[in-house]
């Protein structure tokens, strides 16, 4: 009897899991490339397994490598360690040691406050794919909120498409020769402190980040053979970020804002909006969400991202069928210039282990001063088939 209890305990106490997904992807462009060297359609494969070894008390080890091979762009073929960390769970604290991923933010179209991880820009231009970030992360949850402390000992450079890739700037970004303001370069130790609180129907978070800015400036330079290139320039910044969310009935109200200081310029940026949910529309089982957001950046057209004074309207649909069919489509429009972009993300399951997704990106209109101007010929459809294991 005792032996049985013991066996039960052991099998419960430790768990080893392997999961993940493998994806094949095709990207189809509707227009000829604008810039020399750029290729058309591309095919690529990606693999992201996840190994987890956990204890019954919640502590555990996670290893998530990621690799992509792309037929067109060698810069898009890349390997990354998304996660390689040990989570220790104390009575009143949680400590993460190693490479991990942290997401902050509430809005759907822009991710202003999210700063811990660098954007893996070759994966997608929506800024939701991130590179693994080495960190020491101590989280102290209390009744009156959660305090999160971060020590980030190593900086990850943003990925950019290469010469052959689409969805890039002209001249191309040369990631081989980044420029740092700090003499410590990528070994500058960055720090962040965040306080967050959930109170009734409110979620609230505020943080201060000090260290190497994740968003590079792009400096015009020449490469070894004398051709013009853009070189990423990483500055030392201080950034205060705020995110607030409230649920009021069927409405979700969202606000994100940052104030960034640096040697070059101090500025404010913000995004605010709402999502209105409709459930079981006309007894069809369909759920729909209407999204409206406005994003502002004090830097205006100088901002390296496209949302400086833009309105985004979107609709999220969930069919609630067995295949879990979902779609999110949106249109964004700059209120100062003409640029206007349509985007679609959609997907459904095929059986229990497969999923097919279809994404689309169309530049409806753009003018020379816009950040999306270099992408004006890159309207594309992306089809992905993923196998989950």
């Amino acid at each position: 009897m005792l032996a049985l209890v013991f066996l039960f305990f052991v099998s419960r106490a430790e768990a080893c899991e392997l999961s993940g997904h493998a994806t094949v992807e095709g990207r189809f462009f509707f227009n000829d490339a604008l810039f020399p060297g750029q290729e058309g359609e591309s095919a690529s494969v990606a693999l992201q397994p996840e190994f987890y070894h956990g204890r019954q008390n919640g502590s555990g080890f996670t290893f998530t490598p990621f690799a992509r091979f792309d037929s067109a762009d060698p810069e898009r073929s890349h390997f990354d360690i998304r996660e390689l960390n040990y989570l220790m769970l104390g009575d009143q604290w949680e400590l993460t040691l190693g490479i991990s991923r942290v997401f902050w933010g509430v809005t759907e179209f822009v991710h202003l406050v999210d700063i811990i991880n660098q954007t893996d820009y070759v994966e997608d231009i929506d800024g939701e794919d991130k590179l693994g970030q080495p960190m020491i992360h101590l989280s102290i949850p209390r009744d009156r909120g959660v305090v999160d402390m971060f020590v980030l000992p190593y900086f990850r450079e943003r990925t950019f498409p290469g010469e052959k890739g689409r969805l890039r700037t002209q001249p191309v970004v040369d990631t081989g020769r980044p420029v740092y303001e700090s003499a410590a370069k990528q070994y500058h130790v960055d720090l962040a402190l965040r306080y967050s609180l959930t109170a009734g129907n409110w979620d609230f978070g505020i943080y201060y980040f000090r260290g190497t800015g994740r968003e590079p400036g792009l400096l015009l330079s020449t490469d070894s053979s004398g051709r013009p290139v853009l070189v990423p320039f990483y500055m030392q910044i201080g950034q205060t970020g705020l995110d607030v969310q409230a649920v009021v009935g069927d409405w979700l109200f969202k606000l994100e804002s940052i104030y960034r200081t640096s040697k070059e310029r101090d500025f404010f940026a913000g995004a605010a909006g709402f999502e209105y949910s409709m459930v079981n529309v006309a007894s069809s089982g369909l759920d729909a969400g209407l999204i409206a957001e406005w994003a502002y950046d004090e830097r205006g057209e100088e901002a390296p991202m496209p949302f400086d004074n833009d309105v985004m309207l979107g609709i999220r649909l969930a069919l609630n069928d067995a295949a879990g069919t979902e779609a999110l489509m949106g249109i964004s429009r700059d209120l100062d210039s003409r640029d206007s972009v349509f985007s679609l993300e959609s997907g459904r399951r095929l059986g229990e282990a497969w999923k097919i997704t279809l994404d689309a990106f169309f530049v409806i209109d753009s003018s020379e001063e816009d950040a999306v101007y270099p992408l004006r010929a890159d309207d594309n459809l992306r089809i992905r088939l993923s196998y989950y294991f």
Binding site: H21, G105, D203, V247, D250
Partner: protein
């Protein structure tokens, strides 16, 4: 003596009248069907008090009208909250593309529940609006309001009749959602067995008052010498011909779950 005797008579009469008045409502059966329905619901709720926390594995089988099946697996952790609705954490294990997705719910006796969804691919916690409870849970025939913690205060009640169902003496009561605007139902008719106050069957009537779904519960087992839990639930949708079967296994009580397991931090590290 005389005045004293008179006083005694008055006192006796007054006491008798008062006692009669006190006994009268019960004796005359003055408990209304509404009061009786509420009393039954309260009794059923009271019998489940004190379970503290529980964990359970759930296999959900969706069946369409052609008999094609698809399955979802999840684990549910529940924490009893003194004076308010329960907190629950559902962690999805399959289909594999949603593996690791977790749903945290704070049920409230009054007003809207609080709900957050954790999306593991983005490591993102999203708050979701939970006012409207009639939406489908995971594409199944269960609506959020069907699987949510069934707080007494969320309905008004009426006892209909007593009836034998599946060989068990039952109360048949009707209940009406308090938040009528955001429920998918006009009313529900519930069969509760008289001996153990277990729900055996529920008929759901849509907002137009036509029969929409029937839930049948089976395989009741007693845990911790006190708490009855069904191991099978079958929801049949009469209007679209689809059905969803839930099979619960590995029920465990008093496993020492804490408030911090049901926080946003707890949601992020749920596995």
């Amino acid at each position: 003596m005389k005045p004293c005797g008179k006083a005694a008579v008055y006192l006796f009469t007054a006491t008798a009248v008062m006692l009669l008045l006190m006994l009268l409502p019960a004796a005359a059966g003055a408990e209304t069907p509404e009061e009786k329905g509420l009393a039954i619901a309260r009794q059923a709720d009271a019998r489940d008090k004190g379970f503290r926390d529980s964990t359970v594995s759930l296999l959900m089988t969706l069946k369409n009208r052609h008999g094609q099946e698809s399955i979802r697996r999840m684990r549910i952790k529940t924490l009893e909250v003194e004076g308010d609705g329960d907190k629950s954490l559902s962690i999805f294990d399959s289909p594999r593309d949603v593996r690791g997705t977790a749903l945290l719910t704070y049920t409230h006796k009054f007003g809207d529940d609080d709900q957050w969804l954790y999306l593991p691919a983005l490591k993102r916690v999203k708050r979701i609006s939970s006012r409207n409870k009639s939406g489908s849970f995971m594409g199944s025939e269960f609506a959020y309001e069907d699987i949510a913690s069934q707080e007494v205060e969320k309905y008004t009640y009426k006892w209909l009749r007593d009836e034998v169902y599946n060989g068990l003496e039952c109360f048949v009561i009707e209940r009406y959602p308090v938040d009528r605007k955001n429920s998918g139902y006009k009313r529900q008719v519930i069969w509760i067995d008289k001996k153990e106050y277990r729900t055996l069957k529920v008929d759901y009537y849509d907002r137009k008052d036509s029969l929409l779904k029937t839930l049948t519960l089976s395989g009741y087992r007693k845990y911790g010498n006190r708490f009855w839990r069904a191991s099978g639930m079958n929801m049949m949708n009469h209007q679209n011909g689809k059905s969803t079967r839930l099979e619960f296994s590995d029920y465990r009580f008093g496993v020492g779950l804490r408030d911090s397991d049901f926080s946003r931090n707890g949601l992020k590290r749920a596995r």
